[in-house]
């Protein structure tokens, strides 16, 4: 008897299906290999018994089962989509409000100051400087050279 045939006979004996051949198997049980194989069969049987019973739906329960599925399918959608729409609308309104504020806030603003953008002089040797003051006003100053190439006024400096 080879090992495979012995294993088949051990399995039948383990399941109580050998009948008259049980005595022949009993003799083989003294072998260590057979003992090990039987231990494995016992472990297999124990694990198989530990599997939980599957719930079964009988015919009386089937209509309720389908109704539950239908309710889940027809359930109202989650409110996350509405939340995103509300957030987008709020952001758009905020952008518009900030833009309008920037557009109209400058008119008559109290914090603005007078600025000089460009200066120029045609007086030879003169320099022009522009200054800003703390009070928001500005000054443009022409510094003429000390000795100018002839400057004589026909009005003799008369002041009106």
């Amino acid at each position: 008897m080879n090992n495979e045939q012995l294993e088949r006979r051990l399995e039948c004996w383990f399941d109580g299906e050998l009948g008259s051949d049980a005595e022949a198997v009993q003799a083989a049980l003294s072998q260590s290999e057979c003992q090990a194989y039987l231990a494995w069969l016992r472990e297999l049987r124990e694990h198989t018994r530990a599997v939980a019973a599957r719930p079964a739906i009988n015919d009386a329960q089937f209509p309720a089962f389908m109704a539950g599925i239908r309710n889940k399918l027809e359930a109202p959608p989650r409110r996350h989509a509405q939340l995103w729409a509300l957030a987008s609308l709020t952001a758009a309104a905020l952008i518009v409000a900030v833009s309008l504020f920037l557009m109209f806030n400058g008119a008559g603003g109290n914090g603005t100051a007078t600025v000089v953008e460009a200066v120029e002089t045609q007086i030879d040797g003169a320099t022009v400087n522009a200054y800003s003051s703390d009070d928001g006003s500005a000054t443009v100053w022409v510094t003429e050279p000390d000795e100018e190439d002839a400057w004589v006024s026909d009005t003799q400096g008369e002041i009106w």
Binding site: T114, V116, E117, Y131, G136
Partner: protein, 203 residues
Amino acid sequence: MNLAALAIVAASLAAEGDCPIEKPVQVTMVAVQATRSGPPRTAQPEHGLVFGIRESGPKRRKEFSKDLEEIRPALEALDFDVFTKVNAGKAVADAGREVQLPINRDYTLFVTPLCKDREGRIRIKGRVEEKVLLRGNKKPVSRQALSFTSAIAPNKPLRLGGFRLGQGELIVVLSVDEYTPAPGPPPPTAPQAPQPSRHPAAR
């Protein structure tokens, strides 16, 4: 996608840009002769520095003619001791139109309103022309003593100075506002007739 498009449109609306002037502009000019009774208290400020520098020496009392009280705050920071009114004038102009404000026989101020920016400042371009008699010439010629472009804020005047005038220097205080006609007859647009000055300071 729609939100991004809306943001782009809103940013375009908020973008910087000059606005046209809807109302006429009133240009107000006060010309002052400023003189020193002593040496300058401070050296000429270097390019880019604020003009008003705290003086370390003893203070000299400043004198203002009576008709300069309104613009006295605009003159007090300047390094001069005596301020005498030379002339004053107002003119009303639309955007793009030049107005002429005579200062005296040698100097004339020209101002052209340009537009109004978002901060409420009125941008103008202007120039001060002077008549000068150059050596070798028999007749005085007109030259541009100063040309400038500025954005003038409400109640923040622009001072133009450094022009020779007698023993002192000419300072022009310039302010620009939107013209609001007062009820009644419109004010004259020509500058006031100059009053003879009592000060002997002259060229």
